[in-house]
Amino acid sequence: MDLQKLEAFRDEIRLNTLKELYHLGFGHYGGSLSIVEALAVLYGEVMKINPQDPKWEDRDYFILSKGHGGPGLYATLSAKGYFPEEDLYTLNQNGTTLPSHPDKNLTPGVDMTTGSLGQGISAAVGVALSHKLSNKDNYTYCIVGDGELNEGQCWEATQFAAHHKLNHLFVFIDDNKKQLDGLTKDIIDPLDFVEKFKAFGFYTLRVDGRSLEQIYEAIEEGKRQVEKPIAIILDTVKGQGVPYLEEKADNHHIRPSEEDATAIRLAIAELERKLGKVVSV
């Protein structure tokens, strides 16, 4: 793993996420930013994919079950070369190929349509099952939200995955501690995700969701499993990587105030300087 290269890729994803949402004027900042590190490791280092041939049959699959993180995924796909960066500025505009929630029929590189929470994980299980039935060694990666795990379907999917020993299925839990209406512990206390996923038959690890190395190493460790599907709980924060947004209380969906907008512009400029780019804001 070339850490320096991966850090630059991560910064590029975070920058693009901020720029596309800032350009749109509103959106799911919190949960798009909290998955940037996981996306960077998957698309920058781990996944077997071909951006020139998004539907390559022999690829690994990625399903963003927490579909409202779409802008983070689009920033990643664009940085990876699936489509031009300019497209990011059409996010949610009339006739766009980048709707707020991922649509596999609109966006190159999006493997499954998601947005209605709880459903993407079942589709990921289906893909992993298909590979297993065909004796293929491809991996399926899925990110679910901590709030999303309120949905009963997620637990149906995990039971099914464990029963069928889908050891090439990775489920990442974006444990950013918040859902739309507030803290997860206040709305539906998730208790201990590690204990829960272990009880549901997953090989379970908890890592610092800001650490590229820890995420990468957890995936490497998970790949050594021969029976169990793998759950990697990402200890994250909403708005991750932008201190102002991390501290903002109501940061699931943001329509920036003047103060917010100033802070977002500063974050964009800082990332651009870090990446040696011309400052655009």
Partner: protein, 318 residues
């Protein structure tokens, strides 16, 4: 086609569920991509008897219908052809959002068998008696909805949809249907079958109501009224041309369905007629009611789904 009245309506020897199971074996043995999914109702649909024949191509996903639809969608992303079965109410109203988002909206490829159509759920009663499944699936853009009337049709359509991409819903009873078709009969999407010709009134039916409508035509014939009977097994897309042709010819249309009259066959026919050929019509079907336990004949009487009800509606129009 039955050109002369017949009073002999014999039940088939093979049950619909046996035909489903047998056809799955044919499909799976012919194509390694065919995967059957069940939700703990294998013994109800007889697929428990075929596990040994296609062990790697049939999966019991447990009592998790929402997940089953999602898994089916995921299987189809990688080229598998999932055939999903559960009772009609679970296949549609319990999983409607999965069917909508992971199915139709995502444009995945899922074949769904919804069993125990309407009153044929009998002793399972109101919780299990789907009168709204056709209406729900009909709302999904580009979905195909069939209600099969005999086992020849069931087998034909199961085989036909193997190579067709999209959401296909087949509604069926589990037990023996009245035999209607020869083994070599061919069925097309969007094409109804005229089973009997008569110039006074047109009866358009699906599923178990096709045989009831033929019996109604016999009753009408005894009273000097000649009825056309159409098996409109393809409810979406529906056979607009055939409906308009016979509505024009007879000037009176009765629909007959084992389903709520809102959203199902009656609605679909009324939609065609009101736009293309306004015609007097009556809808035989379930009206603003839920299901209940009971024997089939009792339930048919209760919900007014008998040949007498159909013939009565026809006479009202003349």
């Amino acid at each position: 086609m039955i050109s002369t009245p017949s009073k002999h309506y014999e039940l088939e020897k093979v049950e619909m569920r046996q035909m489903y199971a047998n056809t799955l074996v044919e499909l799976a043995q012919g194509n390694p991509d065919v995967i059957a999914l069940e939700a703990d109702l294998m013994s109800a649909i007889s697929t428990n008897k075929i596990v040994k024949q296609i062990p790697t191509q049939i999966i019991n996903g447990g009592i998790m219908e929402a997940n089953m639809m999602g898994v089916a969608a995921g299987l189809s992303l990688t080229g598998k052809i999932p055939y999903v079965h559960t009772f009609g109410q679970f296949a549609t109203r319990r999983t409607f959002d999965q069917l909508f988002v992971s199915g139709a909206y995502a444009k995945t490829n899922i074949k769904i068998l919804g069993s125990d159509a309407g009153v044929t759920a009998e002793h399972n009663g109101g919780t299990h008696m789907a009168f709204e499944d056709i209406g729900l699936v009909r709302l999904l853009p580009n979905a195909t909805v069939y209600e099969v009337s005999d086992s020849t049709m069931l087998r034909f359509l199961l085989r036909k949809i193997e190579k067709e991409h999209g959401i296909h819903y087949i509604r069926t009873i589990r037990k023996n249907a009245v035999k209607l078709y020869d083994e070599n009969e061919v069925f097309e999407e969007g094409k109804g079958k005229v089973l009997r010709e008569g110039g006074d009134v047109t009866i358009i039916a699906s599923g178990i109501m096709v045989a009831e409508s033929l019996k109604a035509a016999d009753l009408l014939y005894e009273q000097g009224i000649e009825a056309t009977v159409i098996d409109m097994f393809s409810i979406k897309p529906i056979d607009k041309d055939l409906i308009v042709k016979y509505a024009s010819k007879t000037g009176a249309v009765v629909t007959a369905e084992n389903h709520n009259v809102i959203g199902g066959l009656g609605s679909a026919v009324a939609e065609v007629l009101s736009e293309h050929c306004p015609t007097k019509m009556r809808r035989i079907g379930v009206k603003e009611q839920f299901g209940q336990v009971g024997k089939l004949e009792y339930l048919k009487e209760f919900y007014e789904l008998t040949p007498k009800d159909i013939a009565g509606a026809a006479k009202e129009l003349l």
